[in-house]
């Protein structure tokens, strides 16, 4: 298995598995409600023209997150 990195460091086309979400409160809940919970496989679809936000594909849909929010999510890159 790959190393643990932050979700915002994922390269376009790269795949990873969520290891944990390190934020509470509203931010944490919003991220988790969308299904970013440990064990979920995500892939980075791309980035906005100014490199932020980032677009992710998981569980059959595409979600966009700002790099700041993605920074709270730890993933195991593959």
């Amino acid at each position: 298995m790959g190393e643990i990195i932050s979700l915002c460091d994922l390269k376009k086309g790269q795949k990873a598995v969520i290891a944990g979400v390190d934020v509470g409160g509203e931010m944490g809940r919003r991220i988790r409600d969308m299904g970013l919970t440990p064990g979920v496989e995500v892939s980075c679809v791309g980035r906005a023209p100014l490199q932020d936000p980032v677009a992710l594909r998981f569980m059959g849909f595409t979600l966009t997150l700002r790099n700041r929010e993605a920074g709270f999510v730890r993933v195991r890159a593959s």
């Binding site: 809940r29 409600d33 791309g46």
Partner: protein, 797 residues
Amino acid sequence: MTAPAQQGAQGGHMLIAIAGNPNSGKTTAFNRYTGARQHVGNYPGVTVEKKSGTAHLDGRDIILMDLPGMYSMSAYSPEETAARQALAEERPGAIIDVVNAGVLERNLYLTVQFLEMGLPVVMCLNMMDEARAQGLSINVPLLEELTGAKAVPAVARSGEGLEETLRAAVELAETSGGRIPPLEISYGPDLDAALAEMEPVIREAGLFAGTYPPRWVAMKFLECDRDMLRAAQDAAPEVAARLQATADKTSDHLRSTAGVDAEAVAADYRYGWIRSILRQGVRTEDEQKKRIDFSDKIDLVLTHRIAGPLVLLAVLYGMYFLTIEVGAYPLDLVTGAFDRLQAAADDLMPAGPLKSLVISGIIAGVGGVLGFVPLIMIMFMLIAVLEDFGYMARAAYMMDRIFRIFGLHGASIMPFIVAGGIAGGCAVPGVMATRTLRSPRERLATMLTLPFMTCGAKIPVFLLFINAFFDENKTLAMFLFTLAGWGVAMLAALFMRSTIIRGDAAPFVMELPPYRWPTAAGVLIHTWERAWQYVKKAGTVILAISILIWAGMTYPGLSETEEAAYETQKSALEARLTALPQDDAAKAAGYPDLFQHDPAASTVAKDGKASAPGSTAPEDKAAPGSAAPADKAAPADGTGDAEETPRERIEQQLAALENARAAESLRDSYAGRLGTALEGITAPAGFDWRVNIALIGGIAAKEVVISTLGTAYSLGEVDAENASGLEQYIQADKSWTKPKVMAFLLFTLLYSPCFVTLTVIKQESGSWRWFFFSLFFNLALAYGVAVAAYQFLGGLL
């Protein structure tokens, strides 16, 4: 929580709620069920839309309540809070949970929360056609068995499966009485133990008995759900304290041993439960048919690093073009109709204050409001198409990085553009378009700053003065004013977001839905709803304010002696006119209107336009008797056509007389006196009473600025689109220096939004506070900028 009413019934009809994730096709289903039989309102205290409608099934009427689209019942967003409250208070008999079959895992997250609340749910497995095309197959009986809820495969777009879903919901409502045994899933050893400890306490105390299941209430304590904690505190403080103690103990333990919050654990276990049932064979994927994603291919272009922004620019320009340029045709029809109405009233009614009220107050005011309706309809139609297609989310995604700098949101782009970000929009639909913003602070900041854009009504003012004073580079000057609007809006947004609307940026967690073709019915219903709301709400307030402003610019009017002096001159001229050989064409000039929304097409007092500039010098503004404009007008005729007949000359003199009377009366009105009184304050910006009065009128509608200036300069009716008379006049007037022009134009760009916009801001923000804020903040800002410009440029030149 209020006591439950008759369960699941409303006025004898069964009540069923429709819920689901955004982009699950919930609205499509709701529209299919109810057609045009919808009622749109607001949830109390929040600006979340509350829609309900009537569906027919097997000869009976069923009330459908459309809950806001949401991903979870966590009650963080206003939508979620409103939905939870509606479920608790209105107690629908059952919930139709619209589930996107292609994204089953995430959609079931909401379903599980309903089931945990003990609410009877029928799943409408929507978009089965898409799911099949992606090679997904769903074992419906197994899904029903594992969740305990009925599921019906459906395609909401075509209506497939909808009737069956509704029938199942009605049956469920009848058999369950609105409540079912709640679903209980395991949250792991720590939380399960705490729940087991708290549940009996809640049950014994009867906390929320009959509304929420005890285990669910206990879970809310562990999740630190603010609303539920507060409600429990109010209902039973002692019990709440005991529960809180247990919850705190558990949370501390979790944090120290596992380093996570209880609410994180809860979400993980809920999703874990969903995954486990899906893995038991509910969903199978056919790897052979693995989707070739069409959306991904479109996105390669539409969100491409270089092509993406270019396409966005083209789309925005196209929207602006369609709304403003194409919208001009129906706009002309509407204003034309009101002009004919004004003309008819002019013919039919006897002269007097009532006539003036009807023509200049009521018809002009209501016409001004209804004139926007075609624009609003086109704009909302385009927005609905872009939204349903999925492009709006992409635009927000691409622009977010830039807007975030100023405390705004990617989705702010569309409202700004509509409001005039590309010169010529309208702030009214712009404010209404902020509804696409889901985060309240960013939405408010967008709404309050978009009136700084160069809207269509400000354009004639810019054109006139730019033509008169900036010969060298007119296009550049226009462009710079548009940029100035953007600059001020962004800085004001930044200012507001760091002062009065301070707060962290709302999390940008936004779904990019797959591209889908919009349905005609969805787009039309959406458009109609918005337009009707605008007409209904803005119409009533605007009518009242139009009358108020009309009265301000009409009363107290000229004194009897002044009036008599004009009458004498008028009769003298008319006598000369009738004395002329052919008297068939003799028609007296009408009374110029002091308050005109759209003077361009006014047929009243058109004759006034013919008067040559300079026929009444501005210095003659004093006593009407001494002004004797009729006599002075005579030599001015020499500047006109040499072929002028005596009749034409007298008619011109008559018109000039009327204009002088109108200017005099305007100056004497309350608004005029206010304008004069304000000269002390506005002198640092270089504004005299004429400018003041025109700007005051402009608060009603910016279109009025030019026409009021025309009246104040005794030029009679000035066509805002073709004001060459006023242009020449102002060009010749020595008091209009470049610093004054700059100060005036910057003030016009930035000062208070027009009343229609203010009203819509009140309506959309849900508070008078922002109405007044917008009025005074923008006024103060514009004043500051105008004074600075006048003083600085004046010192420079």
